[in-house]
Symmetry: C2
Subunit: 219 residues, 2 copies
């Protein structure tokens, strides 16, 4: 029995890392969801919570990094275990970024809250936002469940987001043409589309890392 | 003597990590500089090289990550050494991102190459680009020379970039008002301003990590 104890402790520490990433994922997803709600219905209180959540995820990521490095230093894991730990660090970094991007969305919400945003570009944005929400959720499921199929789907989703971004770009510039008065706030809609695209990229990256963790091959 | 050998080897491995980051930094800075040149004078060949450099830095970063984790696993470093190694991973990640952002700048160059971009927003952009170049260069000097003063300067520089970004945003939307025909390509100038801002953020982050590495306190 003597020799088994350290192994059991090691497994426990890996499980803890996974639980930390899961918690960070939940926070990031909820911050993102709320940021889209705030876009549709302005809410100062909610914005405050989103900004706090982003900072909290940053703090959690900082702790996660330290934990992972201390596990590596003390346990000297190899192969699959090492790849799992590396992936935790990477996924944590992406989730932290998603938290801050959600917080950036609330800044756009502030800029457009008193404007009558034309329907067409806003529809594009909301369509993008829905797919992106799905992607973040899928990326967590892929990593936590070590599920290759879901991870692969993220690449197709990201292509969809890229297409929608191009359409949003076209519709936004068209609205600027149609009514010059809109230019001053429609620029923020452009930034918003970019933020959504970047969140989608992060979700895709989480999927790619998951594939790499399982197969040891870059997708 | 017997006991000294592993220590000497360990120091050698740390030096190697530093040299790797230095090389990545040189590549990232040169890709960025070239991307700004391409913006002013379109050059297909140069663009190809920038895109290749971004991929090369990505590959170097991938190798750096593996090297760092293997040093941690085999040497179990503590305190200052561990913080140095962690900082190498972080700085590597930022440099990789700067490489891809330089590659994004070349996409903007493609979009605006046949347009007569109004002088005023372009002046703002070039002014921003100069400060950002300086920041990337300073961030490398701060990390490689473990220089707190330079690292602290980056915070002030970043404030300057933020101000210039706001001015560029104002000038670009004004140009859109003045001449509607410009809207379709001026949106890319907006994206460009955002890319520059993001590169500045990465440089500032490298400075912050350097301060943390030296003082063990978040700036």
């Amino acid at each position: 029995m003597e020799k088994r104890h350290p192994r059991i402790l090691f497994r426990k520490r890996l499980k803890e890392l996974r639980a930390d990433v899961e918690q960070m994922g939940k926070e990031a997803l909820s911050a993102y969801r709320d940021s889209i709600k705030v876009l549709l219905k302005y809410d100062e209180e909610k914005i405050k919570r989103i900004v706090e959540t982003a900072d909290k995820i940053d703090e959690m990521n900082y702790n996660l990094e330290h934990k992972t490095l201390s596990v590596i230093a003390s346990e000297q894991p190899v192969a699959g275990d090492l790849r799992f730990i590396e992936t935790c660090i990477k996924v944590g970094g992406h989730l932290k970024r998603i938290g801050y991007l959600a917080s950036n969305i609330t800044e756009v919400a502030k800029k457009i809250k008193d404007e009558e945003v034309p329907e067409k570009p806003m529809d594009d944005i909301i369509h993008m936002a829905d797919i992106v929400e799905n992607m973040v959720s899928k990326s967590l499921a892929a990593f936590l469940g070590q599920n290759m199929d879901i991870a692969r789907e993220l690449r197709r989703d990201d292509d969809k987001v890229d297409d929608l971004f191009d359409r949003a770009l076209k519709d936004i510039t068209q609205s600027m043409f149609d009514d010059q008065e809109t230019i001053s706030y429609l620029v923020y809609l452009l930034f918003l589309a970019r933020i959504l695209e970047r969140i989608a990229d992060r979700a895709e990256n989480i999927g790619d890392r998951t594939i790499f963790m399982i197969t040891c091959k870059k997708p």
